[in-house]
């Protein structure tokens, strides 16, 4: 497990772009991707003529060549892809770093675009037709029992965390409220104008016990894009660079196959691949959790955040609940999280809006700016493998 060649601080995110986040964009995913990409390039002070690499997520409907065509990119030398789904965005940035440092590209566009509410909805049962499963999906062992969605899987994890550690609904609610409070200060967040109290949280309808409505992220239409280039070049561009201190991907031992259901066979279902990604990322960065000023933690559900607070070493295993309840994840706490409102309250661009918000923290331009933030952790570590980034101010 050698890190003989270090990518530490050698590349940077120099441009960020996002569309509006909505329930019905009225645009194609290609139009959204194009809009976010143009915004990211303009932000960096670059043009489409500068782009020679594109990296997509495997669940995106927009292919690299689709976006290259739409943007009029003429000299594409690198096309990359990562996944599955929410595990991708930080890994996509890592792939951009790899392409740049190996000389395969100089200026790489990394994007995620989805009509996640008006188009294909991830939270719905994907099961249709006469027969389900086969072909390595293992759905045949789960779907016939009515176990159909990611929310139901995370409900099983939350229940087990409650059994093992006494975690309470109020502690999960604390995560929903923290994200909502950040969204209330972020004009771009879908929940910008909607307050959430603990009474609201507890009174909301159950979806899959013990998870309630506000434990679930927001199905969202929208796109985000970032531009990655060499740190040396970044100095001459329009924005202060967010140096990529380190990037990592990882998977736990016995990761289990497939996209989601088989993870329920893991030795502990309350440990995410974040645990393994954390070890690699911290080692590569030469830093630890106490040096992280702010964290954008993948929050498809509240429980996903709670598990990661433990996996990333911000608190001990089993202590995520009390850690949340003590206010440590709020502005002013030891590790403020999801400062744009997160997937729970800003929008669910499948991890990519967390990358954009992480760059804002490094630039000092977040609507929930953590004073003096110099190091930001961004995670994409839901169910299968995962990835993460540590961003640093230059």
């Amino acid at each position: 497990m050698s890190d003989a060649y270090s990518h530490r601080d050698k590349c940077a995110i120099v441009g960020i772009g996002a569309t509006d986040f909505s329930r019905d964009s009225g645009r194609t995913e290609l139009s959204l991707a194009t809009q976010a990409s143009l915004a990211a390039l303009a932000d960096a002070g670059l043009t489409t003529g500068d782009v020679d690499g594109i990296i997509r997520c495997d669940m995106d409907n927009v292919r690299g060549n689709d976006l290259a065509h739409s943007l009029g990119i003429r000299d594409l030398t690198y096309l990359g892809e990562n996944g599955p789904g929410g595990a991708a965005p930080c890994a996509m940035v890592g792939q951009a770093v790899a392409a740049i440092l190996s000389g395969q590209a100089t200026t790489v566009l990394v994007f995620r675009s989805l009509n996640g509410r008006s188009g294909r909805r991830f939270g719905q049962s994907p099961v249709e037709g006469a027969r389900v499963g086969g072909a390595g999906s293992y759905d045949e062992l789960f779907a016939p029992y009515g176990l159909l969605t990611p929310g139901q899987i995370f409900a099983l994890m939350a229940q087990r965390h409650m059994v093992d550690y006494g975690t309470t609904p109020e502690q999960l609610g604390g995560i929903a409220l923290a994200c909502r409070a950040r969204a209330n200060a972020n004009p771009a967040a879908q929940m910008h104008g909607r307050q959430l109290t603990m009474d609201d949280y507890l009174a909301a309808r159950m979806i899959s016990e013990p998870l309630r409505l506000f434990d679930f992220c927001l199905e969202t239409d929208g796109a985000c894009a970032v531009v990655v280039t060499a740190a040396e070049r970044a100095r001459d561009l329009a924005q202060p660079p967010a140096l990529i201190r380190a990037v990592a991907q990882g998977s736990i031992p016995e990761p289990q196959p497939g996209i989601q259901f088989p993870v329920l066979m893991r030795e502990s279902i309350t440990t995410l691949p974040a645990r393994a990604v954390a070890d690699t990322l911290y080692r590569r960065a030469g830093m630890g959790p106490s040096e992280v000023d702010v964290a954008e933690l993948y929050d498809c559900f509240t429980i996903t955040v709670l598990l990661q607070l433990e996996d990333w070493g911000f608190c001990k295993k089993g202590e995520g609940g009390p850690f949340v309840a003590s206010g440590e994840i709020d502005l002013g706490g030891t590790i403020p999280i999801n400062t744009g409102g997160g997937h729970l309250s800003e929008g669910y661009i499948h991890g990519m809006n967390h990358v954009v918000e992480g760059v804002r923290q490094i630039r000092g331009t977040s609507s929930n700016q953590v004073a003096g933030a110099e190091t930001c952790l961004v995670t994409c570590t839901p169910l299968p493998p995962g990835s993460a980034l540590l961003l640093r101010a230059a």
Binding site: G123, Q124, S125, V127, E128, G129, A130, R131, V132, G133, G134, A135, G136, Y138, D139, E140, L141, F142, A143, P144, Y145, G146, L147, L148, T149, Q152, A155, L156, M157, Q159, R160, V163, R205, M206, I207, S208, E209, P210, L211, Q256, P257, G258, P262, L264, M265, E267, I269
Partner: protein, 141 residues
């Protein structure tokens, strides 16, 4: 919204890696995949045992008893064949706790972690039988 007459999603029962589970269930037996080389549990089922390198495995009949590992009461319906509420259970086998199996209990089940569970067999179509799980009957004293 709730159309209880919608057909249940039927599992693929002829996948090369998982067919044995359903073949055993059709015989009224609960079976999991195990390695012939080192007796490791291969669940979810795979052909190759990375522990010992063997490609030889068997469908081992196991006791239909286990302990409740986790559960969720599904209150929000997502599929027309599964009217809410219903309870999905995740059960660790007594014989091989490293293997967990899924079952469904109608309605809101009143459950406690670690409680004893027992398998039963539900014929869901002419050719498909699902191993199911329910709280074990109290032992006769």
């Amino acid at each position: 919204m709730s159309d209880v007459t919608a057909p249940l999603p039927m599992p693929v029962t002829d996948d090369l890696d998982t067919a044995g589970f359903f073949e055993a269930a059709a015989r009224g037996e609960l079976a999991i995949r195990m390695c012939d080389g080192c007796d490791a549990v291969l669940h979810v089922p795979v052909a190759y045992c990375h522990r010992c390198g063997s490609w030889e495995g068997r469908w081992q009949v196991v006791a239909g008893t286990g302990r409740l590992y986790s559960w969720t009461v599904v209150a929000h319906q997502v599929h027309p064949a599964f009217p809410a509420p219903y309870t999905v259970v995740l059960v660790e086998l007594d014989d091989h706790p490293e293997a967990r199996l899924v079952g469904q209990i109608p309605g809101r089940a009143d459950l406690v972690a670690g409680q004893a569970m027992e398998a039963w067999f539900e014929r869901v179509s002419d050719d498909v039988v699902l191993p199911q799980w329910r709280p074990a009957a109290p032992e006769e004293s």
